[in-house]
């Protein structure tokens, strides 16, 4: 349904419809029930339980049959969601088939259901991330290509430094996004595996058939079969968190750049317009960078949530006490926030409004100081880097104090005139002449991406 659940008003802003569905209560219950159904089928396949019992069980493994309020009560009492779920499922099955009810959850433990259910949710989540990452990558590639040659001020320490191109800026974002895609791909085999260990990892309740059941279960669910149960070895799920943490960092950097470019005093790029989007409750002229705010908020929140997942790894013996429980809401929250940030950045980059005239105009703001390095390098060929640097530093200070063009001040300097003609000085002060290998770098990034896409 499209109505936001109570208590989740802000989800509409901070995450996506899809991720909310995956990690809703229904989604969580569905994951565990898919495990119970598959477990029964797997056990029937290897002959541990009767086949009709498996079918009777699987027939009741539908989230719609479960009363969430009653489950919640049971969780409060028992301390985890699988216990009341298994109890309710058993009762549901027992209505029609008392014998089958005896085989529900056969040989498994709560955490088997919860972790395998989580793996199923994470598979859907990673699919969603991969698809939105592809969307964002495409949008960035288009910007990089379109603006390969568009000059704008490069800025370091929030000061204009030397000219760059907007294509290079976009290629920088793109290059990072491509690495995030690679990380998500590498993550899948480690994270998307079943959990199947029984009470303490020995599957003792299944006698000597434990491995057969586990293998069949993995097959049923198309998840990987891990070498061992991993009840308290939480690196698999913690790595989902760290991978998404890196992704959110990359998105936050992008959002910070956009927010800065969109400042009234800079005005070089804006988020796409839409009726009612980014307005103010009191200022009629406002068009707030909402997408950037969502991604930046995620970039503030997710790193700490990643640290929760890492801290939670210190789990005791064969089942954690505190650490495991700390994961239950944290990993879904990381997924939700990462998805929201990603979707906002994808949509923004697809419709980004770029003001190349303003980019050009801003290059002139500094009275030529942005080309101080260009001038210094032109002189360095004649007098060495250090001396040229000092000379131009002095001239730059003068330019600032007197509010004059750096070019002018240099032109008055005898030493400069001894080495550079007026034409050479002019050339040094044309931003278009001081873009280095910006164009090559953009091409490099686009070519690498194209190659990967072709290979994929």
């Amino acid at each position: 349904m499209s109505m936001p659940d109570a208590g989740r008003l802000l989800d509409a802003l901070f995450t996506t419809e899809r991720m909310r569905a995956i990690f809703s209560d229904q989604g969580r219950v569905r994951g565990m029930l898919d495990f119970e159904a598959a477990l029964a089928r797997a056990e029937a396949r290897v002959g541990v339980i009767p086949a009709p019992a498996a079918e009777a069980i699987a027939a009741r493994c539908h989230a719609e049959l479960f009363d969430m309020a009653a489950l919640a009560q049971g969780i409060a009492l028992s301390g985890n969601p699988a216990i009341p779920l298994v109890r309710t499922l058993t009762a549901l099955v027992a209505r029609d088939d008392a014998e089958a009810a005896g085989y529900v959850h056969w040989g498994a433990t709560s955490q088997d259901a919860m972790d395998t259910g989580l793996a199923l949710q994470l598979r859907d989540a990673l699919d969603a991330f991969e698809s939105d990452l592809a969307r964002l990558s495409g949008a960035l590639a288009r910007i990089a290509e379109t603006h390969t040659h568009t000059p704008l001020a490069g800025r370091t320490w929030l000061q204009q430094a030397v000219p760059v191109t907007f294509g290079l800026k976009a290629a920088g974002w793109l290059s990072a996004v491509e690495r995030e895609r690679e990380r998500v791909r590498e993550l899948r085999p480690r994270a998307l595996v079943i959990q199947c260990g029984g009470a303490a990892g020995t599957l003792a309740a299944l006698g000597d058939r434990g491995l057969d059941v586990a293998a069949a279960l993995a097959e049923e669910l198309r998840l990987g079969l891990p070498d061992l149960p991993w009840h308290t070895q939480r690196d698999r799920v913690a790595e989902v968190a760290t991978t998404l943490g890196l992704l959110v960092g990359t998105l936050g950097k992008m959002a910070r750049d956009l927010a800065l470019l969109a400042q009234t005093e800079v005005g070089e790029a804006r988020e796409p317009d839409a009726p009612g989007r980014g307005g103010s409750s009191t200022m009629p002229q406002k068009r707030n960078p909402v997408a950037a705010s969502v991604a930046l908020a995620a970039a503030v929140r997710v790193p700490a949530l990643v640290s929760v997942m890492l801290t939670a790894m210190t789990q005791e013996h064969e089942r954690g006490l505190g650490g495991w429980q700390a994961e239950w809401e944290t990993l879904p929250e990381i997924c939700a926030l990462a998805a929201g940030a990603l979707e906002q950045m994808a949509r923004t980059m697809e419709g980004l409004e770029v003001d190349t005239a303003r980019m050009r105009a801003n290059l002139d703001l500094s009275d030529g100081l942005i080309l101080a390095e260009a001038a210094a390098m032109a002189l360095a060929r004649h007098m060495g880097r250090a001396r040229a640097h000092a000379l131009v530093e002095r001239a730059s200070r003068q330019a600032t104090e007197q509010g004059r063009q750096l070019r002018e001040i240099l032109a008055e300097d005898a030493e400069v005139r001894a080495h550079l003609s007026a034409e050479e000085l002019d050339r040094a002060f044309d931003p278009g002449n001081y873009l280095g290998i910006a164009v090559e770098l953009v091409d490099r990034a686009l070519a690498a991406r194209a190659e990967r896409e072709a290979g994929a």
Copy 2:
């Protein structure tokens, strides 16, 4: 209603009914509407808007009149919950009174509504914390009193060290809880203040009546009047987070102790029993320490959430971009988790099952090593601390290697015999004789608490 909202299945475990109500979507909307109603009334009182308009507005400020799904849509578009709320409220008022509708949210900005609404929610939350802290303090005082003289093993680095009393252990928990109560009290005047600054903190839209309106508003809501608007000075709300962070740390320490005491191999204390509580989906004998798991999970999660609130303080100019948004779900989450942990510890301490026989038995586990310091101090009076320490250290090693009683080994040592009679040795090896000022300390803690309670 008592049904858990979708997406909040685990809330039943991790937080309290009361805290969930305060920070539900309804609660958030109610807070903002209480602001809008009070603002209108305050403005009418100082003559900025007509009194009938204020009443017409206040009459519509009821959360039940608002469609949460529609609000959510509006939030996704505008980037904050106040904008669609104000728009909807205006439309509701306009149905009956077009003129009054023109005065909705007069001179205010979204953040005024959001932050003041938050302050109202926080007031309810702090009330709840104070009352549950009193409950926990009472329960701990009772334990400390009952077990003033109950000896058990003091443990350092998870090794038995010297005897302590269970009363002293409880007094340690109590003493920390009392400091948390003090911190919560100190926090109130800084945190529970209105926000009223208009678009950028100048209340310019109210001409020269800004301060009068603000003062009247504070009075209407019985909140403090801050010296200045604090739109981007977030220490007030961040301090709520840090204060609760300290509280959760104190609760986590308590829960860790309980979890360790409840180990099968220790068995000195257990959470109160209740039908179905702490069972296992597969192991019939299990009684899991659910309350401890909740508090420990909070102790893993909340520190990181506190760091989010601190990181989020770096907000830009007159309204934050990213940092502010990062607060919106984080502070409620901290409150929810802290409340859950607190309630679980209060309930647990009220019904704690203490096994004094097991405490006594465990004191004998180490073949007297737990009284090694006692023996060393008895000898130190005769041979100095360092030499006595070395002698007893050697004997302790022997005792461990040979699986014999330390007392026996010391009794065989000529140097020991030269200084201590058999009786003196016996006395050194009675845990009840080596409790130092444990009893005095418990009395001290209880007296201090009684004094505060009397004063309060």
Copy 3:
């Protein structure tokens, strides 16, 4: 000595000389030795050890007598710094007075020395913080006063919003700094207390004289006497961390504002100039905001370090295993970073270069859009807030699209003309007329500060 220690090259940038001295290895050793000397004296005063022994011990409690390399070896072996320190001290005393050596560290435990030593270091640190906070507060008060009436663009979501004054901006910083001073003051009695509990908190090795010794020790060191030993109740030290975390957040906000104001495209304020300060290795014109970078780096690092201190609170029984050890370098690091950030901001604010002309010029950048709310409020008196907001929003959009002044577009609107004369429109578009209670608020903040200073 002024030479930075190896491994601490960056300390010169990130912290202060004074804080480095306090938390140097020497400082740590000095703190523990001050404890040992005071303990011996206290024990002599209450008659637990002979007075001459106390003097012999105190005479050796000088950090210069200790070989740091040897201590380090001992720490690696024993797991904490107090053990090798006590052993070395005992040996030093024994050289001259074997009997006195027997009384070194009498009845105490490692953590007593470490925590009390820490309290002594923290007292020095808090003194330093209070003095630099006073410096910063003074500088901010001067800026607020000087620029009470200086208009500049208020900015929300990094977009120009409505005019404010630079005095109000500074008053906002000031108000937060004043709250931080209050927090540091409130913290002192809780944090600056001795630790004196012996092996497990009972002071059993002192028989029934434990409390007397503790009281005398507190007196010797002019530290508070806590109700109980607090070996594993870590809220006292964790609160130092949270308090400094709030301070750093406040400094980070200030630094973020400065960094944004110093952007080439904004240019309204700059850090004070100094030869060689903030240069670039390649760009001669650069003057990087170094102070802001230090404070912002602290604002990124400290929140996470605070979370370490909070996570570390979950300490086991009578002595922590992991949590306690996690504190040892973390709290000093928080102090160091907070001190560095504070000193940089104090120095910066004392010499801040303010460009009021640029502030004024930037107000004109938006073709009058920054006064859209002013225009809307002027109209709202005639047509209600909502309708006026919509009308001006439409006109603002037009102004942006056509690159024209908002005032002009409004002047062409018949409905506007029906309500506002040209003069009234002009008045609405003068930033100086739309500053609301900015001046009053600055006065309020300055008066409150003056009152506190007078009271202090």
Copy 4:
């Protein structure tokens, strides 16, 4: 030298000699100088600067020639370590060869030197991690093999659950360690790359030779050549942090297990003994688990430090302000702590003292409750899982209340007797019969490891 630097007393405990050397001030300076030397040589190779200049420069690129105190002063002024380093290097070169001095740092920016230097340090660090991971993996494999069949209590929620084997426990640790090795390997190509972009990533100062220089530089240093400069795309270094964060989590889990096993009341395993190791300043009998404390402290600290690296990713435009600076000490600290934890765990596992008799004895502690699931499964074959679970749950409660053996109570139950013979009950209550596939799982883990080792 082996003497610990002042201010680093605790390094002897918390990190390794090797990691300290890598990330010492000398190490940092060496990294940057290696960059400067290689840059000069690369530029000479592609003809951008004269070959003799390159040699003159490289000849001065030795850390020993640099005065750390002077560098520190320069850093405080300029805001980063590369600026004073380049200035000093230039002066050193100029002493003999003024022309060559003009080519120092030609076309590069501070961050190029710092990031490439960091990559060189990280290469050494990753080598160290891989070698200590191999050591730990070997030790764990040996334990798993030796104890394949050693039964001990499996513990969930810190309660005895069902029997497992110590080999399986070790195999769980091993399996996680093997995944950490895999992650470190995958990380190398992304992290170990040069940084070479010049002022803002265009290498403009090198004209059109930028890419050639970069490629030659990468070759000189045997580092990877990235597609683009990555000055503000920090995922590469942040991933080092997240990878080590996962590693530390895995080590923390291991250390927590060891600390719990070493409890006086459990006593199943202890850290290897060494003279003076883990003693107490006051309790002669103590043998504290120092290695566990180091790893657990790292597990508390590193997650938060990882969050710093992730938060720091939000860097502005072409050079970060705050975020970048936050990395400088944080990443080295993560490496240091991870190395310390790893080395301690490797050493501990190599010499772990295992008490199999105590393991066996502890299995008997629960009056047979640890085999409640075994009994329930034996009954479940006859009466279904749910009914058997309820029956045994009831009997378990009885056993606890009456302090009797569960087996006895079940033997008295008519329903039980109807289904199970005395022999069958005996079989159910033999831990050795309820180990499920523990042995297979250990073999699986060892075989997988052997295969990887063979392949490597």
